[in-house]
Amino acid sequence: MNIETAGHGTLIIILVMAAVTLVTRWGGIFVMSFVPINYRTQQFISAMSGSVLVAVLTPLAVNGDNGARAALLTTAIVMLLVKKPLPAIAAGIIAAALFRLL
C-alpha cells in the first residue's frame, strides 16, 4: 500500500511515523508494568542499559571509516584518563575531522 505525498498524504505519513514512534516510547514502560520487579529483573535492566549503547556503537566502529574509528578510540582513551564526557567527546570529534582531512 502506497500513500501519495501530494495533498494530505504527507500529513498522514507524518502522523503514522509519530504514532509508531510513540508506541516505542511508551511500550517499554507499559510492558514493564506487568513484570514483577525483583532482583533478577533489576540485574536484567542494568545489564541491558549498557548493552543498548554497546549494540548501537559496535557496527559503527566495525563498519565505519577510519575517521569513525579514530573518533571512538580517542573518546574512550580520553574518557578513561580524565573521566569527563565533554573533553572526551570533543577530542573524538577533532580526531575524526583530522583523520578525514588527511
Binding site: V16, I37, G50
Partner: protein
Amino acid sequence: MPTVDNRSLELKWDEVLAGFKQLLPISVFVLIFAVAFGLAAAQKGLDGASILLMSTLVFAGASQFAALDLWGEQVPLVPLIVTVFAINARHLLMGATLYPWLRDLPRAKRYGVMLVASDANWAMAMQAFNAGKSGLGLLLGGGLAMWAAWALGSWLGLYFGSAIENPVSFGLDMVMGCFLLAMVVGGQKNLRMLVIWVVAASSSLLAYWYLPANSHVVVGALAGGILGALWMEKKVEH
C-alpha cells in the same frame, strides 16, 4: 540499584531546568544535525510546515532520515512502519530500563516524561539513577532541550542548510556516537560487565550482518540483558 527513596520521585522544576542546561552543549550538535535533516527533507520536496511538524511530533532523527530514503511521489506504508519501528525499537528498551524509577510517578507524568526520551538524555538519566541521584530532571529537562534544538534546527535547515553542506567531513556525524561511548566508559566497569558488553557487541554485529536491517540494537541489548539476568551480581548485604 533501584532502591528508590521518595525524594527522587518528585519532579522539581529546578531539577528540570538544571537538566535542560546540562544537555545544552549536546543540543548544539543536535541542532546542527537537524539543519542537515531540514536541508535533506527540503531537497526531497517536503514543505517547511511538514518538516517542522515531522520533527516536532516524531523527534527521532535516525528514523526521520530513513523515512526520507523511502520518500518519493508515493511512500510505501508497510516498509515505512517497519523501518521506523525497527530503528526506534531501542526506545522500548530505554522505557523498560527507566521503569523502576518511573513506576511510582502518577501515570500522566510517567508517560509524559517518556515523550521526550531520547538517547542522550536517557543515558545521562540512567547514570544519575544508578548513582542514587534523581535523573528525572535530566530526562525531562534534557529531553526538552534536545527536542527544541531538533525542531528549531529542522526549520532552520530550510534556509541555512547549504551553510553546512558536509557535516561528515568535520566529524559531526560522530557526536552522538562519541557521547554514547563516553557514557559506556564512564559507567560501571568489572569483569561481569565486560563479558556482558562483549556478548552484546558480538550479537549486535552478527545481527547487523545476518539479520534484517535495523534489528542489531534490540538483539545486542537483549543478549546482554539476558546474560545479566542469568549471571547475577552477589547481593550486597546491608
